[in-house]
Subunit: 134 residues, 2 copies
């Protein structure tokens, strides 16, 4: 099995709200293959998809019983500490909740977290050992 993650699908409670956050708020480009039931955004090397949480559970064939910490994060690297703060502000203006303000962290970088409208955690980070751009 090649390490190929084709799509990351988030099970959301209000599809319209989630689409508005990612498309209008964060500026992610909606793919043409999206429709009224599911939204796809082309991300670098993978696709971020939004789909109603109850339908996602149904598709997996499991019960939708979860709550609390989902046990995963999405990371978004930018090119400077200032860009971390700017991106966190941009997300909050788009409707995200600031969870951890940008700060120097133990591994030598600068990072913070926001939660999207469904509570999915995004880390926004500057890593001095990388040259990733925003």
């Amino acid at each position: 099995m090649k390490p190929n993650i084709t799509i990351i699908t988030l099970g959301v409670s209000d599809l319209d709200r989630a689409i508005a956050f990612y498309q209008n708020g964060l500026g992610f480009p909606l793919q043409e293959n999206s429709n009224e039931n599911i939204a796809f955004f082309q991300a670098q090397g993978t696709t971020l998809a939004l789909y109603p949480r109850d339908k996602l559970a149904e598709d997996i064939t499991i019960e939708d019983t979860g709550s609390g910490f989902s046990g995963f994060t999405l990371a978004h690297n930018v090119s400077s500490p200032e860009a971390v703060d700017a991106t966190l502000n941009e997300a909050v203006e788009a409707g995200a909740t600031l969870i951890k303000p940008g700060q120097n962290v133990f591994w030598g970088g600068y990072s913070g977290y926001f939660a999207d409208p469904d509570g999915f955690y995004w880390e926004v980070a500057w890593d001095p050992y990388l040259s990733e751009d925003s």
Copy 2:
């Protein structure tokens, strides 16, 4: 904010078990920047990381209270229905749990799901409208 998902980090309950599953079981190549505290696997366009769940919650600055359905899936596309079944079998042999056997699905493809040792859901899918390879 560009649609750049640099890293997907899974908060796992037993790091050694999770590394064994992804590295030895599924054959994902471990990145050199991994260490005894965190594991990184280069995936196509993004990085899959494994990190202890309690430490991930601590890093976000939240309580680790979740259980049940985490509300997200990772998708892995392959080139044929037969490859879906073969990949599901490979994952089960590596220690995954088969959740939904490969089957024809409503959107015209063939797909199934497995759960990794921490309960994270992977869809393995053949999409006749794509030419993705495994």
